[in-house]
């Protein structure tokens, strides 16, 4: 408040007078200005007066041993005001003033340990006092147990722990003045974790421990960590100063391992796929075995696809169906060529006989039945007087009946060599396969010796073909009809080679006999077989051109003669009627020939 005095009062001292005068002068001019200022500066319109009412902000105890109260002063009222804090405890009316105004700063009161009692209710009031008056604040009741607010935790550190599971280790210390060791104050902590790039922050309650782990830190991120604490029943502290941690860039081991495994697996799969593609056909065969197609000889599926049925069937047919088999139904025929011992009109009558034979030869009966025989006659005409060569050909017993007529060639002036040809007329039917003929060619011109002296030379026989020369030829060098052996007809008996046989191997398509030489052992066997199992008849001579003199011949037995009447062909029917004749013979009798041709 300003006291205005319009007029200076009379002062006894001259100095005082002077100062007053001076005062008056300055203030006289300034006073209205001051008044204006004062009035303008106070929009409330109040003049200077007692101070405004202060306000107690808060009282706080950091460790439950001391506490501090702070107030907000009210308006000063234009004058210097002083504030004073007064308190009294419960149950006592004695008022005490704040012991310490400075420690806690301005407008605060600090109660140290001496003045602090827990579980005691304090009634605190702040009074503002100025020259004109004082003003009291509202009182508050404070119990220290309820106003505990500690300082923030200290020494917050963040470290990165490496390993299989890296994590951030956060450590801190309790606020330095709080006594938790004696159990007086129990603090609980809380973390605030924030990633710098992310605006979201996470709150983690840590309990009473002083460390915390943040698992799975994101590489490359910067983590900001703050910690605060709270007593059991009190207020949260301020956040501590943040701690920063930069997580280095790295790929966690397990991730890299997965990547490695993925690459490896894909590589293996690639190789497998490549191998599969290479072996496509075999894999396909393994999983889907091909359906076997029809196995018909000569069946051409391509032809079937083309759709030409005639070709298919012709192909099927022309393969030689019914199948022929080599070596089956072997017809062993022994062709004997014997030298005529008597002069007989046979040579002259031969052609007739031949013609007769030819004429009479019926259609050659060809059959494949067992037991039928083949007759063959081979006659060799010899124009020489030396002898006739007759080629007797006796078919094997088990061969089909084949008849053939033989044609003789023109006698050569040189009677030595004769070609024995057995020709088959065209009228003759085709040869039956499987007949084996062995021709024995007896060389005439020999002295009438015993049959032992007769030398036979094998002669090839081709009953079916007319020109058979190709198969066998007897050239002048010898009478040999087979390819293999060429026997030189020698007059001397000793020079005669032993009998050699040919075996008809096959009859080819041109009705040619394909012969092969039979080994001696085989021949011997044949003879034996022939003698035992088969009876062969040996034609000794031809009588009257229609009579064959058969002799049963054997290695041991001597010849015996028997006569058969009639041509062989004609005899066919009569043969069964003369069993005795055959039996009596000691020569070769082909029982097969005796049988009726079927």
């Amino acid at each position: 408040m300003v006291l205005l005095t319009p007029y200076p009062t009379q002062s006894p001292a001259s100095m005082a007078k002077g100062s007053v005068l001076l005062w008056r002068r300055t203030y006289g001019r300034l006073t209205p200005i001051l008044l204006l200022l004062l009035l303008s500066g106070r929009p409330e319109g109040t003049s200077v007066g007692p101070p405004g009412k202060p306000r107690l902000i808060s009282c706080r105890s950091p460790e439950k041993e001391t506490f501090t109260c702070q107030w907000e002063p009210g308006s000063s009222g234009g004058l210097a005001t002083q504030h004073a804090l007064y308190y009294h405890t419960e149950n006592s009316e004695k008022v005490f003033e704040c012991p310490d105004y400075e420690t806690a700063g301005e407008n605060s009161c600090f109660f140290n340990k001496t003045y602090t009692s827990i579980w005691v209710s304090y009634n605190i009031t702040v009074v503002a006092r100025n020259a004109l008056g004082n003003s009291c604040s509202d009182s508050i009741d404070v119990d220290v147990m309820n106003i505990v607010q500690p300082h923030h935790p200290e020494n917050v550190t963040v470290t990165l722990e490496d390993g299989d599971n890296p994590y951030l280790q956060v450590k801190w210390e309790k606020p330095h003045r709080v006594d938790t060791r004696s159990g007086w104050v129990t603090l609980s902590y809380e973390l605030c974790v924030k990633r710098e790039k992310d605006n979201k922050s996470e709150l983690h309650f840590a309990g009473q421990q002083k460390h915390f782990r943040i698992f799975r830190p994101i590489p490359g991120e910067v983590y900001v960590v703050k910690v605060r604490c709270k007593p059991d029943h009190g207020y949260w502290s301020e956040w501590s100063s943040p701690a920063f941690m930069k997580v280095p860039d790295y790929i966690p081991r397990e991730k890299s391992m997965w990547i490695l495994m993925a690459v490896f697996t894909s590589f293996i799969l690639l190789i497998l796929a490549w191998a599969l593609v290479l072996k496509k056909s075999s894999v396909k065969h393994f999983f889907l075995p091909p359906v076997p197609g029809p196995k018909i000889k000569g069946f051409d599926s391509h032809l079937l696809k083309k759709g030409k049925s005639e070709e298919i069937f012709s192909v099927l047919i022309s393969q030689g169906f019914p199948p022929t088999s080599d070596g089956e139904d072997l017809l062993v025929e022994y062709l004997e060529v014997s030298e005529g011992l008597q002069q007989d009109p046979a040579p002259t009558a031969l052609p007739e006989a031949q013609e007769q034979q030819r004429d009479r030869s019926p259609a050659p009966i060809a059959d494949s039945g067992q037991g039928s025989s083949v007759h063959h006659t081979l006659q060799v005409k010899s124009g020489e007087e030396s002898g006739t060569r007759s080629v007797k050909q006796t078919p094997a017993f088990s061969g089909p009946l084949v008849t053939s007529s033989s044609s003789s060639q023109a006698p050569k002036p040189d009677g030595k060599a004769n070609t024995i040809s057995s020709s088959s007329s065209s009228s003759r039917p085709s040869c039956v396969q499987g007949t084996l003929y062995v021709a024995e060619v007896l060389i005439e011109g020999l002295p009438p010796a015993t049959e032992q002296d007769r030398q036979v030379t094998p002669a090839g026989v081709s009953p079916c073909n007319s020109p058979v020369d190709s198969d066998y030829t007897q050239d002048e060098s010898g009478l040999s009809g087979n390819r293999g052996t060429a026997q030189r007809p020698d007059v001397s008996p000793s020079a005669f080679k032993p009998t050699e046989y040919v075996e008809v191997q096959n009859v080819n398509q041109e009705d040619r006999l394909i012969l092969r030489p039979k080994a001696k052992e085989d021949i011997g066997d044949l003879w034996q077989v022939g003698l035992r199992g088969q009876e062969y008849s040996k034609v000794s001579e031809l009588i009257n051109n229609h009579l064959l003199l058969l002799e049963r011949g054997s290695t041991s037995a001597g010849p015996s003669y028997g006569a058969t009447e009639g041509p062989v062909e004609g005899r066919a029917q009569q043969q069964p009627a003369k069993p005795t004749l055959q039996q009596g013979l000691n020569g070769y009798v082909d029982t097969g020939s005796m049988l009726a041709p079927y």
Partner: protein, 212 residues
């Protein structure tokens, strides 16, 4: 809101009783046969947890009461803060509490516990009858009565544990000053906090393994 009192009172009983029945086997401290042994630290921890819960509940009760029944602030400041347990000399500071011997501190705790048995039951009865509390359900009243019963049983058993000298003078139930509910709640809140702090001091002095 008074339902919450049931829990804290039971817990009060628990840390009065040395033998706590857990499941089928009782827990003994000294390792008697047939008992499940707990370490002292564990036992203290249990008790302290219970006391903390008690105090929390009492604080909630008090604040709710003030909010519900006494909206005017002026009334609060003028209430006489004389609790019926004021005669019990309790250390008011850390140094004072640490200066006390363990036995003495334990005696103080027990005294406090005993002193609250009757007022709580009284409060429970008045809560049921008071017309202001008709909004509370009958269940809460029942819980309160159970709590009082348990408290009475334990106080009788605790009487045998300590000598009569340590207990000191006790205020009998007839001499108990009538307290209004608000004051009672306020005093209970304070005393439950005292019990909790004293127990913690005891624990950190006797078994300082963890949490000290």
């Amino acid at each position: 809101m008074f339902r919450k009192l049931k829990g804290p009172v039971i817990f009060l009983l628990m840390f009065l009783d040395v033998q706590v029945i857990v499941g089928s086997t009782p827990i003994c401290v000294h390792g008697h046969t047939g008992c499940q042994t707990l370490s002292l630290a564990d036992l203290f921890d249990r008790v302290i947890q219970h006391s903390a819960r008690v105090h929390g509940l009492s604080s909630d009760l008090h604040s709710e009461y003030e909010q519900y029944f006494l909206p005017s602030k002026n009334k609060i400041s003028k209430i006489n803060r004389n609790c019926h347990t004021s005669y019990i000399l309790t250390p008011n500071g850390k140094e004072n509490a640490q200066r006390l011997a363990g036995e003495d501190l334990t005696g103080v705790i027990l005294k406090l516990l005993l002193a609250w048995r009757d007022p709580l039951s009284q409060f429970h009865r008045s809560m049921a009858q008071h017309e202001d509390f008709t909004s509370f359900s009958g269940n809460k009243a029942l819980e309160m009565s159970d709590m009082m019963h348990l408290l009475g049983m334990i106080s009788n058993s605790v009487r045998g544990l300590i000598s009569n000298e340590a207990l000191g003078p006790q205020a009998s139930s007839s001499e108990a000053r009538p307290m209004n509910d608000q004051q009672l709640l306020y005093c209970f809140r304070r005393d439950s906090n005292k019990i909790q702090i004293y127990l913690k001091i005891l624990k950190c002095r006797i078994a300082p393994e963890q949490g000290c």
